[in-house]
């Protein structure tokens, strides 16, 4: 080889190495920053970066955490959840449970929409009836238990449910229960409403550039006092390293969904820090108990559970965010079972023994379907599970799918022996999570049926005695942890990168109230 060629080649590889090495070295170097964003008392604009854009300006047709973070600040509901997830009155002055199915609410006075119209019982009736009746709305399935809304006077209304409903107030604090202005909405229609949405919340709409940003500004006449921020910008930045880049350069104040691999970058940098919290999302394996499949045998299901070291998964790949659980109802959600929280079973030898007893001395083969890119590091977790099961003699045929293809499998019930999914609890109530173990819901998917679970669930659903109801839910979870139609893995954590310019505390429901964030 003539020397220039050799030289060129070496130079080539050097450049490649250097470029990558450099970026590594210099990113840990201290950066001058904070110059871009305002600081201290002058700071009146809050910039938030999310991993996805909202898809609609219709709060009753969104059903996403990203959307809820915007709508929560633009609209009001009858109730809200405080930082401890306790349900508190928001638009409601006083309420009363008239009988098993009738609830009476008195609204606060002086609440106005962003266009100046007063918020009345008619608006509440209109909003709730819309979400109760319009099947195309994404929030519709959650509101089917509401039977009738009666307006008594301008500020008084009654809600009649289709039976005793212990979860009504929680539902009224949930996304989708947002109050929209009847007069304005009927006047302009959905299409125009989307272009200029009007609510009664602390922040009002300025503009929405799709896949770029939503801009909100303070609504000075907000009934609960003038909001903290003059302007709030919610940006959509899907690529995590770009999101972190904006955070490090002071372009945004808070960035959501920081995957574990970016933590060192966030923590190693002056001026920003990582804030972690919990979510209601539980990663779990949906197990097919259908007659004829190998996982119909409870011993095989137990062996699978025993072969997976949930603690190791959380500690290694997830760097400690997340809590191993044995139930789908995590701490903080009403009806959770403390015995099954922060708990896991792991015993490879026993797993092998159980497999032998079940007649699979020479091992067996199962299929695990899992998403890739839907939850943080989901593909990595699935690969770990596959190799852990391999150590117990279970050969796993791992199928990793992109989010949509994965949901197709899940929703069409074409899941094979195992399917990994993360399920959240939007109502923060066990009734929401445990419905999966009823015959109606399990048929076709896990094909699980237990007469006792069935009875407990339906009794609890109509039980207005909270204490008893919680006991019933806890009992269901104890049974499920033994019978394993779901093998629960861990409670997912939430990770935010936060600039030192602001003070922020994450919530269990992952909602962000802009006015709860303060300047340092």
């Amino acid at each position: 080889m003539r020397s220039p060629y050799k030289l060129f080649f070496v130079a080539y590889l050097m450049v490649m190495l250097l470029v990558s090495g450099c970026s590594n070295q210099s990113s840990t170097r201290e950066n001058e920053k904070g110059t871009k964003g305002e600081t201290g008392k002058d700071k009146t604009t809050l910039v938030l970066a999310q991993s996805a854009d909202i898809t609609t300006m219709d709060p009753q047709n969104s059903l996403s955490t990203t959307g809820d973070r915007v709508f929560r600040n633009m609209f009001n509901r009858l109730f809200y959840r405080d930082a401890n997830m306790e349900v508190q009155p928001e638009l409601v002055e006083a309420y009363e449970n008239v009988d098993d199915v009738t609830w009476k609410f008195k609204l606060k006075q002086g609440v106005t929409f962003h266009n100046g119209d007063p918020l009345t019982a008619e608006d509440v009736k209109f909003s709730l009836e819309r979400v109760m009746n319009d099947q195309t709305l994404k929030e519709y399935p959650y509101f089917t238990q509401l039977a009738k809304i009666k307006v008594i006077d301008d500020l008084t209304l009654e809600i009649i449910t289709d039976g005793p409903m212990p979860t009504l107030l929680r539902l009224l604090a949930k996304s989708g229960a947002d109050v929209i202005p009847k007069k304005y909405f009927e006047e302009v229609g959905l299409k125009e409403f989307q272009k200029k949405p009007i609510g009664s919340g602390p922040y009002q709409f300025v503009e929405w550039k799709r896949d770029d940003r939503v801009v909100l500004e303070a609504y000075p006449d907000y009934f609960d006092g003038a909001p903290k921020w003059k302007e709030v910008i919610v940006r959509a930045i899907p690529e995590s390293s770009t999101r972190v880049g904006e955070l490090l350069t002071g372009g945004v104040d808070i960035a959501t969904d920081i995957p574990p691999n970016e933590w060192d970058r966030v923590n190693g940098d002056e001026g920003v820090s990582l804030v972690t919290g919990d979510t209601t999302r539980i990663m779990l394996l949906v197990v097919r108990t259908t007659e004829g499949s190998v996982t119909a045998d409870p011993k095989v299901r137990e062996a699978i559970d025993l072969a997976i070291n949930e603690k190791a998964i959380v500690d290694s790949v997830l760097k400690g965010t997340g809590v191993p659980v044995r139930s789908r109802v995590p701490e903080g959600v009403i009806g959770s079972n403390p015995d099954l929280y922060d708990a896991y079973v792991y015993d490879v030898e026993k797993a092998k023994k159980l497999l032998a007893e079940a007649g699979f001395k020479d091992g067996l083969e199962i299929t695990l379907t899992a998403p890739k890119g839907r939850y943080p590091l989901d593909g990595e977790v699935a690969q770990l599970i596959a190799s852990m099961l391999g150590e117990a003699g279970i050969k796993v045929n791992l199928k990793l799918l992109e989010s949509s293809a994965f949901l197709d499998i899940y929703n069409s019930n074409s899941n094979e022996e195992l399917l990994m999914i993360g399920l959240a609890d939007g109502l923060l109530d066990a009734s929401y999570s445990l419905v999966h173990y009823t015959k109606e819901r399990a048929t076709g998917q896990t094909d699980y049926y237990n007469e006792k679970v069935e009875k407990l669930y339906h009794d609890a659903g109509r039980n207005l005695n909270e204490e008893e109801r919680i006991k019933q839910y806890q009992e269901i979870q104890a049974i499920i942890a033994e019978e394993r139609p779901h093998i629960t893995l861990f409670q997912q954590g939430s990770n935010y990168g936060v600039s030192d310019r602001v003070e922020f505390k994450p919530r269990l429901d992952e909602v962000i109230n802009f006015s709860d964030i303060s300047v340092k």
Partner: protein
């Protein structure tokens, strides 16, 4: 009778070229050694193919075996690296060198075979359309236009959403979407070539269309084909990475360089070796393929022959 004589002399001329081309098998290595870039390209491609074929025996570790105790170990020559993992380990504690070695297989398979599929369809349609013109050209070009108008990645995205992305599916889908590139370029060339004197002469003496296409048109488009297809192998390896980025590439546990790049991109700022080594593997391979392709082009193209 004059016509016949002309045909014969033309055929003789062609035979002559063919003979001189295949006079001896030794001609090829000789020609290869004459070109430095060609030699380098050949050596790289040879090594890559060798690695792909014997990947199982060459890999020092099981590429799928994760070791949570050895996560994100840097390459052996850096602080904290061990000689057990020459190029370090990834976020699941898997040996990067072994994964690159195994990944060679998938990347090459997808790269080469999708180009073969695309090339066969594209050349055939391009020649037919360009040579015959008229209605055939019209129909074929309308199909080409339709395909061209659909961004290939969208086509691939939707197909991969329907069928689970396996190596075979990827080859076929990429092949079936990329043929239009060849068809259009080939047609463009054919349009120009068929106006040249030697083609016109052949036609005027009544040589059959099939023969003209095979003997006069085909050799003249080979150089374009090779130039595009070498780059295409590269593009396909990159396309596979892009599909991984969009979540629709070859999925683990199958190993591909594109998948390694995609998964490693999140570690670019903190653990550079996850991305850099598969990146170098891609670059060097692509460089080799292109050098080899350039050399082949010089040797095969009748227009560039005897130029040196």
């Amino acid at each position: 009778m004059e016509v016949n004589i002309k045909t014969n002399s033309l055929a003789d001329a062609n035979n002559c070229i063919a003979k001189s081309k295949q006079s001896s098998l030794w001609r090829w290595p000789k020609l290869l050694l004459q070109s430095k870039t060609g030699t380098v390209g050949f050596l790289i491609v040879f090594v890559v193919v060798f690695v792909a074929v014997f990947a199982d025996s060459l890999a020092p570790h099981n590429p799928a075996a994760n070791n949570l105790g050895d996560m994100l170990k840097p390459p052996a020559w850096l602080d904290g690296g061990t000689s057990a993992y020459l190029l370090g380990t990834d976020n699941l504690g898997r040996d990067i060198l072994s994964r690159i070695i195994l990944g060679t297989r998938v990347s090459l398979l997808v790269g080469i075979f999708s180009v073969v599929v695309a090339g066969i369809i594209g050349i055939l349609i391009g020649i037919l359309a360009g040579y015959y013109g008229g209605l055939i050209d019209n129909i074929l070009m309308r199909i080409v236009d339709s395909f061209l108008a659909i961004p290939s990645i969208l086509f691939i995205l939707v197909v991969l959403a329907v069928f689970e992305p396996s190596i075979m599916v990827l080859i076929i889908v990429i092949g079936f979407t990329n043929w239009v590139t060849y068809a259009r370029v080939v047609r463009g060339e054919v349009l120009s070539i068929k106006e040249r004197e030697f083609v016109k002469a052949s036609k005027s003496i009544g040589t059959r269309n099939g023969i003209i296409m095979l003997k006069h048109i085909f050799p003249n488009i080979i150089s374009s084909f090779i130039v595009i297809s070498t780059l295409s192998v590269a593009t396909t390896i990159i396309l596979e990475a892009s599909l991984s980025f969009l979540g629709l590439g070859i999925q683990p546990p199958e190993i591909s360089w594109g998948g390694m790049l995609t998964d490693g991109r999140n570690y670019l700022a903190t653990n550079w070796w996850l991305v850099t080594f598969p990146g170098i593997a891609i670059t060097v391979t692509v460089l080799g393929i292109i050098f080899l392709g350039d050399w082949l082009r010089d040797v095969l193209d009748p227009r560039t022959q005897g130029r040196k």
